[in-house]
């Protein structure tokens, strides 16, 4: 968790942590080796022509209007038709016959669990069917477990993408696109919305926490529970501010009357490590700055400035911080 300093984490296609991403990365390196060879060949031909510049054409007789036409034809047909066909067929088989199965949507009921990823302008909502758990921007899955991820959207098109674990899949209105999520080892992997979705597309990150199974089960149990009642007077005042003010018309906190569905579910806000689409850390100072001026961090987001008084703000933050 400490490695998370800032809002980093891994988001690198060439640093894979699953079968699917490893196969894709290996395919990339093989293709790159072939491509470098191809580019070197063409560059070599151009450099060869430059070295011989100004001299009579290579391999022809000076009176021939088409010097070297016949051998050149052989090169054009051999290197321009036959050779690329061989390369393309090989690549086609490797990519679309061997590797595609690893990255495809998992067969129905072949997975141990399902997670729903719902894209919103501009955050990710994650639900765990069969439990009441709802979180935002931070997805937890157990290690070495095949997870069926179902990507949908609440508004425009988004794209679910965690490069270290698998390729991306679009979340499109009216469709349920699925993908296999699987991780070889525990860790935190960063992902991001990959389809342009409006003003704050850039700040629609997510973190995938891959945990040992027992740890994951404990986490899920805790997330499925309703919010704990505040224990301090300050936090109780904060809950009052939340429920009586505009907060609850957009946010839900399970176990209270707040049931808004514009912004993320805040039931266990304090158990998260980041806020606002992995834009800022989930700390007291960032949380209060976010509430006061969210437009500074994510210009154009749906949350207005409510002009809270100093005491309203400190009690609200105390309440939100109690939502472990």
């Amino acid at each position: 968790m400490l490695a998370l300093a800032g809002c980093g984490g891994e988001q690198d296609t060439l640093n894979p942590h699953s079968h699917a991403s490893t196969d894709i990365a290996n395919l990339f390196w093989v293709m790159t080796a072939v491509a470098v060879g191809g580019l070197a060949l063409i560059t070599g031909l151009l450099v060869f022509a430059w070295v011989r510049r100004g001299r009579r054409g290579f391999g022809g007789d000076p009176d021939d209007p088409h010097p070297g036409e016949r051998p050149a034809w052989f090169v054009v047909v051999g290197m321009g038709v036959v050779f690329p066909l061989v390369v393309i067929v090989a690549l086609f088989i490797a990519g679309n016959w061997a590797i595609i199965n690893v990255t495809q949507a998992p067969a129905a009921s072949s997975t141990a669990m399902t997670v729903d990823a719902i894209g919103h302008q501009w955050y990710w909502e994650f639900r765990y069917p069969g439990t009441k758990a709802v979180t935002a921007d931070e997805l937890h899955i157990p290690v070495d477990t095949r997870v069926n991820l179902v990507a949908t959207t609440a508004d425009v098109i988004h794209s679910f993408w965690v490069p270290a674990l698998n390729r991306k899949v679009d979340a499109i209105p009216g469709r349920q696109n699925r993908i296999l999520l699987y991780a070889n080892e525990p860790g935190v992997y960063r992902g991001q919305c990959a389809e342009f979705c409006g003003l704050q597309h850039a700040h629609m990150g997510m973190l995938v926490f891959v945990q040992p199974r027992a740890q994951f089960r404990a986490w899920l149990r805790q997330q499925a529970a309703p919010a704990a009642a505040p224990t301090t007077a300050l936090a109780r005042r904060g809950r009052q501010v939340f429920l009586s003010g505009p907060c609850s018309s957009c946010h839900a906190i399970r176990g209270t009357t707040a049931r808004g569905y514009v912004g993320p579910d805040l039931t266990h806000l304090a158990s998260r490590t980041t806020l606002a689409g992995v834009t800022i850390p989930d700390s007291r100072s960032y949380l209060s700055r976010w509430i006061v001026d969210s437009q500074h961090f994510k210009p154009g987001n749906e949350m207005p400035d409510f002009r809270l008084t100093g005491s309203q703000l400190s009690s609200l933050v105390a309440y939100l911080e109690s939502l472990k």
């Binding site: 580019l39 508004d155 499109i172 003003l199 704050q200």
Partner: protein
């Protein structure tokens, strides 16, 4: 009579009106080509400025040179401008208009007034789209404009209406140009220029024109649907009412992928004329190259869904489009090896235009090789919508379309202006642009693989993307310096360059047989053609001079032009061509009024403005040259 007398008569027959009116009413393909050239150059500067602001914003993480709203407008306008308002009009509008009739030995395009109309419509559509920027309503959902982000619900206001109407308006200009090119190439070739004797440049423009004509209706339909969804309450793309969001994507890419080939095939045509001139050798495997130019556009119509591999299409569909994506590579590899073998078997002189073509081949191969990678569907689904894709298609579009445009600007500069450009600054401009573009676009491969998605107005520090982005930004400034050197060189050469003469390069095609700049009637005598490299057929040129002195095939009795049989090029008839006309610009004006009123939802006004279009068309046909009863 003598040569001089015939030339003087032709001069009188084909002379344009002087001054501003002469330009406003012109039907001369060379003047229209120049108008296109200057207009697209201005729009190129706008698109380039947008790119520079984007790169400045992204130079470092978490910068705020511009806010997200402005950034979205900038990258949308950058894409729209470079594709619809720079490359297509620069290759077809400027290069095609100016050079195509010269290469086939014609005196004008087949439909000279329609040609003028397409320019004025293009200019009006450019002004229309850029007006949006100045009133703060610029399109902001990307050039691909996916719904539902572009629907009235998520993007109220006029921004997307500007996009829809601008695209439709611009498409009218492109369609007119494409139809004009096809008829010109099929019917106005000099008698004797059968298909196998046609320069490769013309094959390329024929292929691109067919491509435009078939691809644009899909985009136009898409834009009309979206305009209706937004303004009339239809539900083409509204899932809740039984519409489909993927319908937009399919229709867009049915246009959008052929579009890529429409952008680069004319550039192939430019390359296939520069290479023979500077190697003094015909292009190797001529028939294969000609067929490849046509095939690349044809197969290009079957690959569109590879832009949509991540949308969850059925595997069979995905595999089909992946296979087509593989096959479309073959016509390109044929051409690349034909060009390289022409370099090697000819006597290469690396003057500036050929340097740009060598750079183009390098960039095109680099971009093509990353393009082949996308046929591996899992890899495509991993890197799509990242900077890896941006790197790929900028190597193609900047490397394979814009490099030949720059090379062509140098190559035909002496023909158009009558002066030579300065060689040393020319070569310097090439190297600056070559280094700059590679510094600009190569790191995008890496940063894309490292996970940086497209269309982000900023990015967090700590992801390791900062230094690559800084390098790209520096590359963009270097590229700009190179382009400025190029333009300054051409401007200074225009005033100070040494006289070029008719044929400074010992070029291969017909435009080099006539004086620089060409006379208004182009060819004093309709040239004899017995190969695709007509200027190298010395006996034919000798015969032309003899015919001119005797007045054979001079056609100086009117505004005359021979028409040939489409394939064999036999002389079919002599036709009288239209002259200067005020109707094209007036018709374009009437059309502009319709589009402005559509934008403002003034439906009654639209009906009145449509009447204006009818009036302009009546005026147009009222001046039709009369068929002479022989």
């Amino acid at each position: 009579m003598t040569t001089a007398v015939y030339e003087e008569r032709l001069e009188r027959m084909w002379r344009s009106r002087p001054g501003f009116l002469g330009w406003a009413m012109t039907t001369d393909h060379k003047r229209i080509g120049l108008l296109y050239f200057w207009t697209t150059l201005v729009l190129f500067a706008a698109g380039g400025a947008e790119a520079l602001i984007i790169r400045t914003q992204l130079a470092q993480p978490n910068q705020h040179v511009v806010g997200p709203a402005t950034y979205d407008e900038l990258f949308t306008l950058h894409g729209v401008t470079m594709i619809f308002f720079f490359i297509i009009p620069m290759t077809t509008g400027a290069f095609g208009n100016y050079l195509l009739p010269l290469m086939i030995g014609a005196r004008d395009m087949a439909f000279p007034r329609m040609n003028a109309l397409s320019y004025w419509v293009f200019l009006a559509s450019g002004i229309f789209v850029y007006t949006s920027l100045f009133i703060g309503q610029a399109p902001n959902a990307g050039w691909f404009d996916y719904v539902p982000l572009a629907s009235a619900k998520y993007d109220p206001g006029h921004a997307i209406d500007f996009y829809c109407l601008g695209i439709i308006f611009n498409g009218i200009a492109s369609s007119l140009t494409a139809a004009n090119f096809i008829v010109t190439i099929l019917k106005l070739r000099a008698p004797g220029m059968s298909f196998n004797r046609m320069p490769l440049f013309c094959f390329a423009f024929l292929a691109a024109s067919w491509g435009l004509l078939f691809a644009l209706p899909s985009l136009t339909a898409d834009a009309i649907f979206l305009f209706l969804d937004r303004n009339v309450g239809t539900h083409f793309f509204d899932v809740a009412k039984g519409g489909s969001t993927l319908l937009w994507q399919h229709l867009f890419w049915i246009f959008g992928h052929p579009e890529v080939y429409i952008l680069i095939v004319p550039a192939f045509g430019i390359a296939t004329e520069i290479i023979p001139a500077f190697t003094q050798r015909r292009v190797v495997a001529f028939p294969l190259v000609a067929v490849a130019e046509l095939l690349v556009v044809f197969i290009g119509f079957g690959v569109w869904a590879h832009h949509m591999f991540a949308t969850g299409m059925p595997t069979v569909t995905v595999i089909f489009f992946a296979a087509a994506t593989g096959i479309v590579v073959i016509p390109s590899t044929i051409q690349v090896f034909a060009w390289c073998m022409t370099f090697i078997t000819g006597r290469a002189r690396f003057k500036t235009p050929l340097l740009f073509i060598a750079g183009f081949i390098f960039m095109f191969v680099a971009g093509g090789l990353t393009g082949i990678m996308f046929l591996a569907v899992p890899f495509d689904q991993q890197v799509t919508d990242t900077y890896f894709v941006i790197a790929h298609f900028h190597y193609i579009i900047f490397g394979a379309a814009v490099f030949p445009i720059f090379g062509g600007m140098y190559f035909w500069f002496p023909k158009v202006t009558g002066r030579l450009y300065f060689e040393l600054p020319g070569q310097i401009s090439f190297w600056i642009i070559f280094v700059g573009t590679n510094l600009l676009f190569f790191p995008m491969h890496i940063v894309g693989l490292e996970g940086m998605p497209r269309r982000n107005y900023t990015y967090s520090s700590g992801l390791g993307w900062g230094s690559y982005n800084l390098a790209e930004t520096i590359g963009s400034y270097i590229t700009t310096v190179g382009i400025v050197v190029l333009l300054v060189n051409l401007v200074v050469s225009y005033f100070r360059g040494p006289p070029a003469g008719a044929d400074p390069w010992h070029g291969a095609t017909l435009e080099w047989t006539i004086s620089s700049p060409p006379p208004e009637y182009n060819f004093a005598v309709i040239p004899k053609v017995s190969s695709a490299y007509a200027n190298w057929d010395y006996a034919d040129r000798e015969e032309d001079r003899r015919k001119l002195a005797e007045g054979i095939m001079v056609l100086e009795q009117g505004h005359e032009q021979p028409v040939s049989a489409p394939v064999d090029g036999w002389l079919a008839e002599i036709v009288e061509m239209p002259h200067d006309s005020p109707w094209p610009i007036l018709l374009a004006l009437a059309m502009s009024i319709v589009f402005v009123l559509l934008l403002l939802h003034l439906w009654t006004g639209v009906c009145f403005a449509l009447a204006g279009i009818v009036l302009a068309l009546l005026g147009w046909h009222g001046e039709e040259p009369q068929e002479s009863e022989a």
